[in-house]
Amino acid sequence: MKLGLVVDLDTCVGCHACGTACKQWNTSGTIGPLSDERPYEKDPSGSWLNRIRTYEVGDSPHSKTVNMPMSCMHCEDAACVTVCPTGASYKREEDGIVLIDQDKCMGCNLCSWACPYGARELDPSSGTMKKCTLCVDRIYDEQLPEAERQPACVLTCPTSSRVFGDFDDPDSDVSKLTRERAGQQLMPELGYNPVNTYLPPRNPKQQDQVKVSAMQGVKQLVNRIINR
């Protein structure tokens, strides 16, 4: 299995709901609290696992606003795991999820340096690295109804711009979407082979030619002649 996410850049409205849902679920999840610094002051900070950024693509008047949520890509060649000296970072063989063992991390920051996507953030209070778990404590929970065994960000997305699934299965939703809409990896030239893909915005639909019946065609012709 190769679990990951597809993010639809065409429909994402940049509402930050995925980031908030992620924080809400994971702050009481397996990686312990995601602590904050000065949460009610003018410069709040803290560990956050899903950052949403907004870009202007193209030049005005032909520019487009694109919202890009980014969390861990669960790379196939995860350099963050290779560089980890303590063995706290690991990639699960069975489903490819990259996780951090909070009991082993010594907070040296090297994995965050190795990650090109900014997916890892140091928790200011525990001094350990935190990252997206792909809600590993949700997706296998048999107490939950089957439809809810998905990451919190995917469940909450109001525009269904986030899809979760197995990229190894060619018939899964994520594989089909990636295939049909030319989903692409971010910064592929670094060679980390990220699993998550991003669907580029679709081109605006062409206006269909209005079909006119034979009778209307005659009427239009007569009107044009009378106008002359």
Binding site: S45, V81, C84, L110, G127, E189
Partner: protein, 308 residues
């Protein structure tokens, strides 16, 4: 990259320590240390290991959760940081045996000297590979980085070896010219690195966002106050300040020690070599600060940088 002071101290002082130990071993193998007494050789070795230890202790200061530091020996097969930790610790018993061999005049002294040189160089190489192996930072991901780290360590360690030998009155002219040549090579290598670094290359905001055919600008970073990513990777410094620091670094690290070398070769007091060493250490701290401050991580592309 944010220059963490503990890491600057670590790489500069332990580098000089490993360099000094390597030179002590080289002096032994080439037969130059015979001019020094046993006590003098042991003093040099102790200075080396004190410098190394100050550096290693300082390196643990930047850990956010140091109680797990002992686990860093466990991933020797994949992680350069782990390899560095293992070799750094392995060096201690070897250096202690080397000291014992000097003191009691063991016959295996040359083997222990050789082993100390190898371990010192391998530890230095491992440290430099922590940086050079990161594909996310193009300024570091080059074979020039390990070459420079070794050259700095052997230059500063060599200069210290000469300074201490000078104070003991056992300065060897062959070693003096060898270290002089090494400082010149290091100087040239650093200049090559500066020119190479100025050439734009690598990932851009286009490859980072996947919009390879259009211009891309950041509209909103999504947070109202700096995050971990901004603090760690967003280090920004004015270009004119960087240029000034580069000039100061070049003068203090290379030009001043080279002038002192010239004076000593012309017959000035050998005590000046200690001044040269101190100047080089200060210069190397500036150099290491620049090494971090000028490194631009690709995550900055997502925060609006057009290229790294």
């Amino acid at each position: 990259m944010h220059p963490a002071f503990s890491v600057l101290i670590f790489t500069v002082t332990s580098g000089a320590g490993y360099g000094l130990l390597a030179w002590l071993g080289v002096g032994q193998l080439l037969g130059y240390t015979q001019a020094q007494t046993t006590d003098q050789q042991i003093v040099v070795g102790v200075i080396a290991m004190v410098l190394v230890s100050i550096g290693l202790l300082s390196s643990t200061m930047h850990l956010a959760n140091p109680k797990n530091a002992w686990r860093s020996f466990s991933r020797f097969r994949t992680s350069w940081l782990s390899r560095e930790a293992v070799f750094a610790i392995l060096l201690y018993p070897v250096a202690a045996l080397y000291a014992a061999a000097i003191f009691w005049q063991w016959s295996c002294i040359n083997w222990l000297a050789g082993l100390s040189i190898v371990l010192a160089l391998v530890t230095l190489f491992s440290t430099s590979m922590i940086y050079a192996s990161l594909k996310t930072i193009r300024q570091w991901n080059t074979p020039m980085v390990p070459a420079l780290f070794m050259a700095y360590a052997l230059s500063s360690g060599g200069l210290l070896f000469l300074a201490v030998s000078g104070l003991f009155g056992a300065l060897n002219s062959v070693l003096l010219s060898t270290v002089l040549g090494l400082v010149l090579i290091t100087f040239a290598l650093k200049m090559v690195y500066f020119f190479w670094q100025g050439k734009p290359q690598g990932a851009t905001i286009q490859t980072a966002t996947g919009f390879s055919q259009a211009s891309v600008r950041l509209l909103d970073a999504g947070h109202s106050a700096p995050t971990f990513l901004n603090r760690e990777f967003g280090y920004q410094i004015a270009a004119d300040k960087l240029l000034r620091l580069r000039i100061v670094m070049t003068i203090v690290t290379f030009v001043v020690p080279l002038v002192i070398f010239y004076c000593v070769l012309q017959g000035s007091a050998v005590e000046l070599l200690a001044v040269a060493w101190l100047m080089m250490m200060v210069g190397l701290l500036i150099e290491r600060w620049l090494f971090f401050a000028e490194a631009r991580h690709v995550v900055r592309l997502y925060h609006g940088d057009q290229r790294t």
